[in-house]
């Protein structure tokens, strides 16, 4: 298990390899479909983003409302591939880490290598468990989007897997091949 603190230094990101288990603490930002649309539209217009995401980690997540006395309700990753149309642009802008679930398209994997960035997978559908990893949650942009707004999270020991690294490694491809290899031997 590799312990990391976000924002993650670029040299730390380059040391990661597909399949590594990571425990992430520190500051990350949520953004999913609608926020991605707005962020990229702002970049296209040459405008500054409402929150500086350079060298930051984006978590594709829309939590449930916080019950009394808790920073957040259930929280977990949404399917990353829906963000793929926007992701290369955000990586070239300076985002350095992504957290979601599910494999990415080749264009995103290429952009990760080009930019020295990493895509982490969180386990989908473990949102009650993951809720306990969130220490604070504050809306910092696009409040009108409700659950889809951009939120600044302080997290502790968020369990992640390096899914696509900065060197072309892919834990989906490797994991499935490793399993099929062992099952053929049986």
């Amino acid at each position: 298990m590799i312990r990391l603190t976000a924002p993650i230094a670029r040299e730390e990101l380059l040391k990661l390899h597909a399949g590594d288990r990571v425990s992430l603490s520190g500051v990350i930002y949520t953004a999913r479909d609608a926020a991605h649309g707005r962020l990229c539209a702002a970049l296209d217009r040459g405008e500054a983003l409402p929150v500086n995401l350079c060298n930051q980690v984006i978590f594709y997540a829309g939590p449930t409302p916080a019950p009394e006395g808790k920073p957040v309700g259930a929280i977990g990753p949404t399917t990353s591939v829906r963000m793929d149309a926007y992701t290369p642009k955000l990586l070239r802008y300076g985002v350095s880490g992504l957290i979601g679930k599910g494999d990415r398209t080749p264009a995103v994997c290429d952009a990760l290598q080009e930019c020295g960035a990493v895509y982490f997978a969180a386990i989908g559908g473990c949102a009650a468990y993951m809720s306990a990893c969130i220490q604070s949650c504050d809306v910092v942009a696009y409040d009108d989007l409700g659950t889809e707004s951009i939120k600044r999270l302080v997290v502790k020991d968020l369990p992640l897997t390096v899914a696509c690294d900065a060197h072309g490694g892919n834990a989906y491809r490797d994991g499935m091949n490793a399993y099929l290899e062992t099952s053929r031997k049986d």
Partner: protein, 295 residues
């Protein structure tokens, strides 16, 4: 012929509200058992670890009341309305939507519905529900609430096959749908397959096959369910797509008669948080005169 019964729609609203909250926080026992069995039988260590965390999460949700998954879905509601029931106090559809509104607000569930599919805009209360109304024998109203997340719903497929494609075409389509879904729908998946009917009925058959996860009454189709599930679990996708034996926990089929020119097939993909909760409302006995007087 059953005695007539009177059901007040405020009781429907209350039931739907409570069922939304229950479904999002308590995984059905059948799904918990399938997960536990998969965890015990999974030979690939990383996959087994993932299944352990998934099982632990379901327990935490039930104990704390925090939703199992942050995608608390669109509320899919099946209303099986006995034809000897008289509903009073408004409109059934309004009562169901009011129950969804209250459940998603008071239960701290996520509001994930946009009012316009193209121009977007969150409705703010997770309404409207997807409501299926069936008239059935009897004088009771059975309500089933199944919140459906879209990570898996997006991976669902419908095809209008030609009769010549036959059984092999059906098998290939199901396997292709699962392969295309891959790591996206939060595997281990649950799969509902509809075969027959027409374009819209086949999708509903697949939805019912997924939500109710009951073996087909015909042994020929039960054998096909098993064969297809085994084929899916030989693909190697595994929990969360990182490899393993457990790609799907279950696969069930529902069928209907179809046209001489067609062979519709639908695959409704569910994740490992395939939820539903149900309740039967019995109402008050009523006479025809009372029913007339209520108009």
């Amino acid at each position: 012929m059953h005695n007539l019964s009177l059901i007040h729609l405020r009781d429907v609203t209350r039931a739907v509200k409570e069922l939304c909250i229950e479904a999002c926080t308590h995984l059905p026992g059948q799904v918990c058992s399938l997960l536990e069995k998969a965890r015990q039988e999974e030979p690939f260590p990383p996959a087994r670890e993932t299944l352990e965390l998934i099982c632990r999460n379901a327990k935490i949700a039930a104990e704390t009341g925090i939703p199992i998954c942050q995608d608390t879905g669109m509320a899919v509601v099946f209303a099986y309305l006995g034809q000897d029931v008289h509903l009073t106090g408004g409109l059934l559809e309004d009562a169901v939507n009011e129950g969804v509104r209250q459940g998603y607000t008071e239960g701290y569930l996520r509001k994930s519905v946009v009012g316009d599919p193209v121009r977007r805009g969150n409705t703010g209360d997770n309404t409207p529900a997807i409501l299926h109304i069936r008239i059935v024998p009897g004088n009771q109203l059975r309500l089933v609430v199944s919140p459906k997340g879209f990570g898996s719903e997006n991976m669902s497929r419908v095809a209008m096959l030609a009769p010549a494609q036959g059984l092999e075409g059906v098998k290939q389509f199901v396997l292709d749908a699962v392969k295309q879904a891959g790591s996206n729908p939060c595997p281990p998946m649950m799969l509902g397959v509809g075969i027959g009917g027409d374009f819209e009925q086949v999708a509903t058959l697949a939805k019912e096959a997924l939500v109710f996860s009951q073996p087909h009454p015909d042994p020929w189709y039960r054998a096909l369910e098993k064969e297809l599930l085994d084929s899916v679990n030989r693909l190697g996708i595994g929990p969360q797509g990182f490899g393993g034996q457990t790609t799907a926990l279950s696969l069930h089929i529902r069928t209907a008669p179809t046209h001489i020119a067609g062979l519709p097939v639908a695959v409704n993909v569910g994740c490992h948080v395939t939820r539903h909760a149900e309740r039967v409302l019995t109402g008050q006995p009523c006479t025809l005169a009372a029913k007339e007087g209520n108009r």
